[in-house]
Symmetry: C2
Subunit: 111 residues, 2 copies
DNA sequence: GTGCTATATAGCTAAAAGCAAATATAGGTT
DNA sequence: AACCTATATTTGCTTTTAGCTATATAGCAC
């Protein structure tokens, strides 16, 4: 499952792909509709779409000639789970000392 | 700001780095403490730490010989903001149709 | 100062990822 | 069948990234 997170985060690390996701959040769109606003070639967009699909972030369906894409519902869930996980550990250790940690500098070296 | 997100997501796309963050969520640790559980060389860990630092995910302080690292509080916030942003767009367009979309297949091609 | 420890930097190799241009495939239309 | 449109795949090139070993720097202990 670590690999899934790898792919999810890696897919999100590209601004073009994040823009595509934001676009798809507004609703389904075909490849050419998605590609239109970008200065990039169509093959490059197709490649980005494949990365997003492999990461499980989008789904495609077949409509004759086209392959309309839409957001895969809840796929960002795994990402949030990881975030929550780390935050829970953090909270368990520091509880509400966050503010203190925030400006703690070099006092109380560890050992 | 897009670049910041790029770096944040890219930093999180590596399992070693996510493990380091999870470790640091438990509390401050020196470079060698962090490196210990990994099969990787120390320089490689140092490199990962630099990536995390450049992404603003961790902070380091100076303690004599060591460079203890800790989580940068709230840096994952920007990531969550982006998530929320996309989700708001999504929600605005589909509201509570999520369940429907979930198993909507190829019905009602979009014009 | 000598030498040990902690960490960073350099140099190198290999693998991955990005992009564009060209080509292939598949559907639609006439 | 001929041709046009939508999309995918391949090719070639360049850049980035990860990892290793070796080396450098800086603090500490003697």
């Amino acid at each position: 499952m670590a690999q899934a997170l790898d792919r999810t985060f890696a897919a999100l690390s590209d601004p073009t792909r994040r823009a595509i996701l934001a676009r798809l959040a507004e609703g389904e769109a075909t490849v050419s509709e998605i590609a239109a606003p970008f200065l990039m070639s169509q093959p490059s967009i197709s490649r980005h779409l494949k990365v997003l699909e492999d990461a499980g972030l989008i789904l495609r369906r077949v409509d004759g000639n086209r392959r309309p894409c839409r957001l895969a519902p809840d796929t960002l869930g795994a990402l949030e789970d990881w975030l929550d996980h780390v935050r829970r550990i953090y909270a368990a250790n520091y509880d509400r000392l966050d503010a203190v940690l925030n400006d703690l500098q070099s006092q109380e070296p560890k050992t």
